[in-house]
Symmetry: C2
Subunit: 136 residues, 2 copies
Amino acid sequence: MLSKKTKYGLKALSYLALQKDRQPVPIAEIAKHENISQKFLESILLTLRKTGILGSKKGKGGGYYLIKAPKEILMTDVMRILEGPIAMVPCVSLNFYEKCEDCPNEGTCSVHKLMLQVRDSTLEIYRNNTLADIVK
Amino acid sequence: MLSKKTKYGLKALSYLALQKDRQPVPIAEIAKHENISQKFLESILLTLRKTGILGSKKGKGGGYYLIKAPKEILMTDVMRILEGPIAMVPCVSLNFYEKCEDCPNEGTCSVHKLMLQVRDSTLEIYRNNTLADIVK
DNA sequence: TGCCTACTCTATTAAATCCATAGGGTAATA
DNA sequence: TATTACCCTATGGATTTAATAGAGTAGGCA
């Protein structure tokens, strides 16, 4: 299942992508428009800022804004930041690889074989979608 | 993440698929060979039996066995039984559809749009893989 | 300067899920 | 009839998720 964190994060990014200009948008406005708990959203936007997706401005007229153009923001990056590894098992993860303790041989493991295919096809989707694509 | 339940279930099915004949295999044997907690495996095999994937035989010489040939067992079925919905959000699920409370319009929802693609590509993988394919 | 706004951080908690274990009961076969 | 192996219930620890609360900090503008 997709976590609410990821879901809310994607919705917030989409909302920002739909702004006419790149002026900062207050958290409260995003939270209200997308039906998200403001405090929860705060922590999500913070992560997105720290990882270079968003910028922020404090004080009156402040808020969050996209640093790059929507078509430059890849879903692979966003999903990894918000949801974590794309692979369903660590032994097929590109960025978070870990060996399975219980599995003597990855080469002959049926789970490994299946999950490798799932990872590849999912990755393909994320690579072919930018923020601009999903708000269209 | 893939649950251990699914992982163990797939491993058990693979082990059964690799048997020469279709004689019942005791839980203890599967558990030992695949490094799985026997009691936990019991509940998993039980589910697989109740949903028509496995058959069982009690008493001496008993155990679990595949009801159909490995190439007749689709991963779509197995994954839905063990892991649940294939979709990452209920609003794009074929078999477990639910409307999102917080989402006013699915047609314009960016999360919906992205997750629909992910579901389709994942489903494609599961449809193209039988138990026979993943043990090869 | 001083106040207001909005971001930032820490801590806590309720709820849900996952994984595993334990123990006893029941059915079938040699 | 005794053994083997399936079947069922329930319990609990661990982890994660989602949300809430409250205090603190920094920037903008009068």
